[in-house]
């Protein structure tokens, strides 16, 4: 078997008459809901994916349109006088993972909108100029973006010269160009940082010398900044380029949009809780800054919820009563929110309902269905209330913009209502002048899923009437505004009398104050009702997913920490009885019963940057070795094997400074 790299495994045929051996499945009844849950997951995730894709497209649209307009605005056809090559510098930002999808969208857009072909190049496939040209010609002439198998070139050019041109000769491209209706060739260098400076410069010079025959348009994807890119080019290369700069929307902005798309709206069946949200957003700003990463995390959250939580089966919209068995209901009756709900009912005195909830699965099912709907409506009201607060806040404070995501985190943990921020915002509404108010109304009217109870149109109409009849051009003031108060001091019989005076408000102002006062009251009532604590909702365990630990384990693994821990305290992993005693003593953990590599590692940790191998050996021998010669042989071999393993891990390296020393390469805890 050892000489074969792979082999075919044929399982032994089951003998007739005897049932095949099989692991007995514990029939808990849970697996019956897996299919339903899977279906629910696909339903929910398809919806989310659609929303996210829409948000991503939305975020990129303006940039894509600008790039397409730039490419199509280039004068088609080759030019005799060799003008500079039109060049687009696309600042894509430092998240490399999103570059590929972005350039794919650019490609689709350019191919759809202009009569140009699009050739994407990246640094991995172009280690030198020759390969770059080969790839360029292959991709351009094949017309397909990626076609790895197509090594054989089409025999173009051969008919004319009798000899086949070399496969990096741009004559091939010229030949192909003269036969196609394409009017320009767009070359996108996706990761310009990955290319050597010399390759980029040589490519630019070569393309510019061909630009009298072939119409090129260049697009450079730049992760850092345009200045850094230009610093790498030579003067003559810069002279042969001319163009525009395009900035892709910042990762933070587009993440905000994506985030909003995933929690807002009445159709979202599962929402991410505050703790997990904070984790995801912090990770985004601290480490990754890629929307792709956020997308993956969110998908993982959905997977966890639907595959690991049996209750999630109730999120399946087409669920029938007889599809689930009794145990699911039993499980549901143990939920904390169910208990709270029952206790609340008990206080109301509706004992009949409690009885049927506890006894009848049928009744409970109907109850769950109804309350899930209610819960989702409440959550969607909550998200739209947050949107309203964001709008109001950002309209009043031009300088300090709040983010939707941060407000969502606060409100999902239940401390947005009654917080200083909300109170302040509501109070500021009352003081707003008429132009701010009309701006706020206009933004509110454009809000998509607004569950606002008040009639914005009516307010707009009333406000328009007021401003029309206003005699001055200045905006109308509300009488709640402090600026309209003046402090007056009068001396009456040697006593200073301070009195507040309202500056006289015109009739329109008074009417406006009434209007905005009404708006304020309605708004306050609305926010009080909508800004609930989602965890207090009945069935919140099903509607929210808020577990941090699976994400930490999956998305932020700790490989080095795990290695170091295994080597420095093997008991944590082995859980053997021999080391337990030394563990209990708490002091020095070295003992002969530990694996030899870990003993050596703990000695290694104690030393400085250089290790004397003989000292190491003596210490090692003192711990593990016996008295007689024979055991020393065994100890030596164990020692040497451990040291060889260290060398393989890269923990030590032979040193040139001292012959009998090795240098320490890795420190613990980094």
């Amino acid at each position: 078997m050892e000489d074969k790299k792979c082999y075919l495994y044929a399982p032994p045929r089951p003998q007739p008459g005897r049932a095949p051996k099989r692991r007995r499945l514990v029939n808990t009844g849970q697996p019956t809901t897996w299919e339903l849950r899977e279906h629910a997951f696909h339903e929910a995730w398809a919806q989310q994916e659609h929303q996210i894709q829409g948000a991503i497209d939305d975020a990129d649209r303006s940039t894509l349109e600008k790039i397409a307009a730039f490419v199509s605005g280039v004068v088609p056809g080759p030019r005799r006088d060799r003008p500079p090559i039109p060049t687009g510098l696309v600042i894509t930002g430092p998240s490399i993972a999103s570059h590929g999808p972005f350039f794919r969208r650019v490609s689709d857009k350019i191919i759809a909108d202009t009569k140009s072909i699009f050739v994407p190049l990246n640094s991995a496939e172009c280690p030198n100029l020759k390969t770059l040209l080969k790839t360029l010609i292959r991709k351009a002439t094949s017309g397909l973006p990626i076609d790895e198998d197509d090594d054989e070139l089409p025999p173009s050019g051969a008919h004319k010269t009798g000899s086949k041109p070399l496969d990096y000769d741009l004559c091939l491209l010229l030949d192909w160009y003269s036969k196609t209706p394409v009017d320009k060739i767009t070359i996108a260098i996706q990761d310009s940082e990955g290319f050597d400076d010399s390759i980029i410069v040589e490519t630019i010079e070569l393309l510019s010398s061909w630009s009298d025959r072939l119409p090129f348009v260049l697009l450079f994807g730049i992760a850092t900044s345009a200045d850094r890119f230009q610093d790498r080019l030579t003067g003559s290369a810069i002279l042969s380029l001319e163009g525009e700069q395009f900035v892709v929307e910042q990762a933070e902005e587009s993440l905000e949009k994506i985030f909003r798309a995933t929690v807002e709206g009445p159709h979202v069946s599962l929402r991410v809780g505050p703790n997990l949200c904070r984790l995801l957003l912090d990770r985004h700003s601290d480490h990754s800054q890629s929307t792709q990463d956020f997308y993956d995390s969110l998908k993982y959250a959905y997977l966890c919820h639907f595959y690991a939580n049996p209750m999630s089966v109730f999120l399946n919209r087409s669920l029938e009563f007889d599809q689930i068995n009794h145990s699911a209901f039993e499980a549901l009756r143990t939920l904390p929110s169910f208990r709270n709900y029952v206790e609340a009912l008990l206080e109301d005195g509706s004992t009949d309902e409690i009885h049927s909830l506890l006894d009848s699965d049928q009744f409970l099912f109907a109850n769950i269905k109804q309350h899930l709907e209610l819960g989702q409506t409440a959550l969607s009201r909550l998200t739209s209330a947050i949107a309203v607060v964001v709008i109001l806040r950002n309209a009043m404070w031009k300088t300090q913009q709040v983010r939707y995501s941060s407000l969502y985190i606060r409100s999902a943990s239940g401390d947005l209502y009654g917080s200083p921020l909300t109170r302040e915002t509501i109070l500021m509404v009352r003081k707003a002048s008429s132009d701010t108010f009309s701006h706020v109304l206009a933004t509110l009217a454009s809000l998509r899923h607004s569950g606002l109870p008040m009639d914005i149109k009516e307010y707009q109409q009333a406000l328009a009437d007021l401003t029309e009849h206003s005699t001055t051009s200045a905006p109308l003031k509300s009488h709640y505004d402090v600026q309209s108060n003046t402090l007056r001091t009068t001396l009456v019989a040697q006593k200073v009398d301070l009195s507040k005076h309202k500056s006289t408000l015109s009739k329109q102002d008074a009417a406006y104050s009434d209007l905005i006062g009404r708006f304020h009251d309605e708004l306050e009532a609305y926010l009080t009702e909508a800004l609930i604590d989602p965890h207090s909702l009945y069935l919140s365990e099903i509607l929210l997913y808020d577990l941090k630990s699976p994400h930490n384990e999956v998305f932020a693994p700790k490989p080095r920490f795990a290695m170091e821990r295994a080597l420095s305290s093997p008991h944590d992993y082995l859980n053997c009885s021999c080391c337990a005693e030394s563990k209990a003593e708490g002091e020095h953990q070295l003992s002969a019963s530990q694996p030899p590599s870990t003993i050596l590692y703990q000695l290694y940790l104690e030393s400085g940057a250089m290790l004397n191998v003989n000292d190491l050996w003596l210490a090692f021998n003192a711990i593990t070795g016996g008295e007689d010669n024979q055991s020393e042989d065994v100890t030596t071999s164990l020692f040497q094997r451990s040291l060889a393993e260290f060398k393989y891990f890269g923990l030590v390296k032979p040193s040139r400074k001292k012959v009998d020393h090795v240098s320490k390469m890795m420190w613990k805890g980094l």
Binding site: L133, T161, A226, G235, H287, Q289
Partner: protein
């Protein structure tokens, strides 16, 4: 056939200030006299070498082929293209279909020599021009010397090499005629550029103003000529002496210069007042710095630059410190136990100043190991950091956008502990980054970073 003098006048009017060179080339490549087997044409960039050689050959109707070395990627590519160019020219002139079978391959210079001997046997005079042959990529070492001897083995065949600077013994042959194209002087540059004055007014105003096209052309030429001289004396003399960059600078400055004329502040003949009014554009160096995106548009979009993740910024700061601080002083700068007093002590001893005259951050960044980077990162972070893989991901990302560069023996593993790293950015960049996360890098930098 035109008489020589007539050809000379045509060419002279086409290429001003190159009379001597045109005369030399015309006499060397006369259709009636034998031409030298090898000729070297040399001169700096933008002195008219290629266009004049081409024009002379075309005017004298000598059949010729031009091979541009810029477009040839390898030595073999050059040879193949040479052969194909010769075949194309011969086929076009002789009106018979050549059998190209024997010429299918051309791997080396001897093959090219044989092919050309066979091709030009019994044919008329032919000239082969190698443009920029001294800049050929991956050229075989004997390329120039071998090409110089082609004329000896092929009758009626001459080779012209257009190069920048001739090396005295590059061709291993004596008696090769050289034609030198000196750079244009001030007067010559101005004469050449003043032949095509750009318009002052982009769209002509109403016809009733009696400002005819002739008048406009006269004004354009008048202002443009004086403007050219001013640009040369102020900027181009020092920084843009060749014709192409001089022209670029002039066209870049022209519109801002004539803007006061267009909006009517000055008349077209008020050159001296205009000059005083617009003196700032001759004082700044903006026009000399070439950039891909015109400056006005960059300013508008500079606000929306991309931000690195928070820990990436710290990583870059740590990497800069690891590159520019000597490793043996790490415990002075980064040990948590050492207080401020100890950190400052180094500046008072002063013994390092004797050995090192150049400030460290002006020197090349020195390589550092990955563990040192991580150690410094933990020392400068204001709070603890979990040992997650995210940090490694960021190092990999930074290295793929070339802010961090691996040096020395580079294996396939990006995070190989034996591998050394180096930073690829300067102090200004990193201090700006540091400030955006409230980290003053000068406090930790040996020498204080001033």
């Amino acid at each position: 056939m035109l008489p020589d003098e007539l050809v000379l006048t045509t060419l002279n009017s086409q290429f001003p200030c190159r009379e001597l060179q045109i005369r030399q080339l015309l006499s060397l490549f006369s259709p009636f006299l034998p031409s030298p087997p090898t000729l070297v044409v040399h001169g700096l960039d933008a002195t008219g070498k290629s266009s004049i050689v081409k024009a002379v050959l075309e005017e004298n109707s000598i059949s010729h082929a031009i091979v541009n070395s810029r477009e040839c990627i390898t030595g073999r590519h050059l040879l193949e293209r040479t052969l194909v160019a010769c075949l194309d020219v011969v086929e076009a002139s002789s009106e018979e279909k050549l059998d190209r079978k024997p010429y299918a391959r051309c791997e080396n210079i001897s093959a090219l020599s044989t092919h050309l001997q066979r091709l030009f046997e019994g044919r008329e005079k032919f000239t082969l021009v190698f443009d920029g042959i001294d800049k050929q990529r991956e050229a075989p070492p004997t390329l120039l010397t071998a090409l110089a001897r082609f004329g000896e083995s092929i009758p009626n065949f001459s080779i012209v090499m257009i190069i920048t600077v001739p090396h005295p013994s590059a061709l291993h042959q004596t008696g090769i005629p050289h034609v030198h194209f000196p750079p244009y002087t001030r007067d010559e540059s101005i004469t050449i550029l003043s032949r095509n004055p750009p318009p002052i007014f982009l769209e002509l105003s109403d016809p009733e103003l009696e400002y005819t096209d002739d008048l406009a052309a006269e004004d354009n030429a008048w202002v443009w000529g004086r403007f050219l001289a001013a640009v040369w004396d102020s900027l181009a003399k020092g920084a843009a002496r060749d014709l192409v960059s001089y022209r670029v600078v002039c066209t870049k400055l022209w519109r801002p210069f004539v803007a006061p004329i267009v909006d009517g502040t000055f008349g077209t003949r008020d050159f001296s007042r205009l000059m005083v009014h617009r003196r700032t554009i001759f004082q700044g160096e903006d026009a000399l710095l070439s950039r891909i995106v015109p400056k006005s548009t960059t300013v508008a979009s500079a606000a929306s630059t991309h931000d690195l993740p928070c820990y990436s910024k710290y990583l870059l700061c740590a990497a800069y410190l690891a590159s520019f601080n000597p490793a043996r002083q790490d415990n002075v700068y980064f040990m948590k136990a050492s207080d401020k007093k100890r950190r400052r002590r180094k500046n008072n001893t002063g013994w390092t100043a004797k050995n090192r005259k150049i400030s460290r951050h002006l020197l090349m960044p020195s390589p550092f190991s990955l563990d040192r980077l991580l150690g410094i990162l933990r020392a400068i972070l204001p709070h603890d950091l979990a040992q997650t893989a995210d940090i490694y991901t960021q190092i990999a990302t930074l290295s793929s956008i070339r802010l961090l560069v691996r040096t020395g023996a580079v294996g396939a593993d990006v995070l190989d502990p034996g591998c050394k790293w180096r930073v690829n950015y300067g102090f200004e960049y990193v201090s700006k980054l540091g400030r955006s996360v409230d980290f003053e890098i000068g406090e930790y930098l040996a020498g204080g970073g001033e």
